[in-house]
Amino acid sequence: MTTTETPAPPDGQAAAAAPGIHKTPARKRLVPYWLLLPGILWLIVFFAAPLVYQASTSIQTGSLEEGFKVTWHFATYWDALGEYWPQFVRSVLYAATATVLCLLLGYPLAYLIAFKAGRWRNVVMILVIAPFFTSFLIRTLAWKTILADGGPVVGVLNSLHVLDVTSWLGLTEGQRVLATPLAVVCGLTYNFLPFMVLPLYTSLERIDPRLHEAAGDLYARPSTTFRRVTFPLSMPGVVAGTLLTFIPAAGDYINAELLGSTDQKMIGNVIQSQFLRVLDYPTAAALSFLLMAAILAMVTIYIRKSGTEDLV
């Protein structure tokens, strides 16, 4: 990501770029750079540079009135971590739970589309993708209606004594679901489920159905076929899906804000309020840096462990 891909135009460049002149090797060599230049510049200026800038902001001190100065004040990191570690831990826990739930819920659906839907495949696909185009926030607000106190969902869960169990586990409080961890995790799972289903479907669809028949011919039971053939072959989809679910879920603050209470605040909520309400930019910057570092570290370890590095 250095500026090597933004070529310094050599002297012959102007002539080479002019139309109607015979192709020269130099001109041909520069084509990819010209194609890349505008887009990559955009990303450097509006994505990479801001991250560097953010790093310098996190070690500044000062106030909005007097202005901020770089004072190499690393204590911001310690203070932020000391004060907001519960939100950090909660973000990772909620995002991890939602990711596992997405995998458990998404796998059968992806399997259904890939192998069993037949001529209904397109209909199911539409139903998976179409919610993407309805506003994310409107759908999240709909969960408020679905999980409302005294609503049918809470009523059923209550009569089945599910809420007693979840309350005992600390997932819900009393007779309600809204404003509890369960509601936030439910919203996160819902919102990121398509990000799990689509990569899973892509990797399942690539599996040759004859492999299943071969496993059956070799007297493998369906469960063995799944464990030894289907699941290992779908690993790229599992890894891609879990990453696509976990990363945005860990930084999300919409679900915690709309479906949770102050006890379910995630790190995204803290960054948002530090930046937009408290206007404490160094703390917001330090927190987003910690979040980024934590996620990058976890993702790197995860990709190493799962052994599929050909994702990008």
């Binding site: 800038y53 999300d252 919409i254 960054i271």
Partner: protein
């Protein structure tokens, strides 16, 4: 697989086979349950677009009414924010698609130094929590003294849509046979003709997918917009604000309309695709 399908068909005809039937169809049932979970909020949004709420909040069913449908713009600022979001999504799509397609062609077609670096730079925005990107870009704008508004939102949207376009177009261009272009050149097509008549039509579905994704992402984005909008209100920001002040039924009307429009677009696309395939065969 063919064997499976026939057994399924017989099982479907005699549904009360008990536990064995249940076990065989466990995956299908579980998958359909997940599908229900995915679609349920859309149904709730649809149903509650016909509600006549008592107070400011539209969370409890009161009674049936089509008031909101007959007056979708009846709430101050709602349609203004909707128009702004559509405009932003349109320009962000144009910007991201043009820039992203160029990058995708460079990556798929050429070997050059810094290729790995470019790939990383494309991948990172997709692997970064939105709130981090949002806060860092906003910090930059703040310090540069740039006024927040339409332009800062547009810049941010093009930035995060770009990677998705590159990925979609790259996948398509990578899978296309380079010999098609060589064949065109052997038939004395100029590079421009080859590009317009051969390369572009083949890459078009990838470009369309990237553009569609950009539009959806930009139109729906809240987190990045919230940090970079200043006092400008896009549609998701309007919805967010209304969640605190009281949600008008019109929000559900617009949500339902968007859902139906999306389904309609996909269905029309599928039908056109099927028809094209059929006419090719005959």
């Amino acid at each position: 697989m063919a064997v499976h399908e026939t057994t399924e068909a017989t099982a479907a005809r005699t549904p009360n086979r008990g536990p064995r039937w249940l076990r065989r169809h466990l995956i299908t049932i579980a998958g359909l349950c997940t599908l229900g979970y995915l679609v349920l909020p859309n149904l709730v949004v649809m149903v509650f677009s016909f509600n006549k709420p008592n107070g400011r909040f539209n969370y409890q069913w009161q009674r049936f009414s089509t008031d909101a449908w007959s007056d979708p713009c009846g709430v101050a600022d709602l349609c203004g924010s909707l128009g702004l979001s559509l405009q932003l999504a349109l320009w962000a799509t144009v910007g991201a698609t043009v820039l992203g397609t160029m990058i995708a062609f460079a990556l798929a077609r050429y070997r050059f130094r810094a290729r790995a670096g470019v790939n990383t730079l494309i991948f990172l925005p997709m692997a970064m929590p939105e709130v981090v990107m949002a806060a860092s870009l906003a910090t930059l704008f703040l310090n540069m003294g740039i006024q927040f508004g339409f332009w800062t939102i547009l810049i941010a949207h093009i930035m995060f849509c770009l990677s998705f376009v590159v990925t979609a177009v790259k996948a398509r261009v990578m899978s296309m046979d380079p010999r098609l272009e060589q064949a065109a050149q052997d038939l004395y097509a100029t590079p421009v003709q080859t590009f317009l008549r051969v390369t572009l039509p083949i890459a078009a579905p990838g470009i369309a997918a990237g553009a569609l994704l950009s539009f959806a992402l930009s139109f729906d984005d809240f987190i990045i917009t919230n940090f970079n909008a200043g006092s400008t209100v896009t549609f998701p920001m309007f919805v967010w604000g209304s969640a605190q002040r009281g949600t008008p039924v019109q929000i559900n009307v617009i949500g339902t309309a968007m859902f139906l429009l999306a389904v309609l677009c996909v269905v029309v696309g599928q039908l056109a695709d099927a028809r094209r395939k059929r006419s090719k065969r005959s």
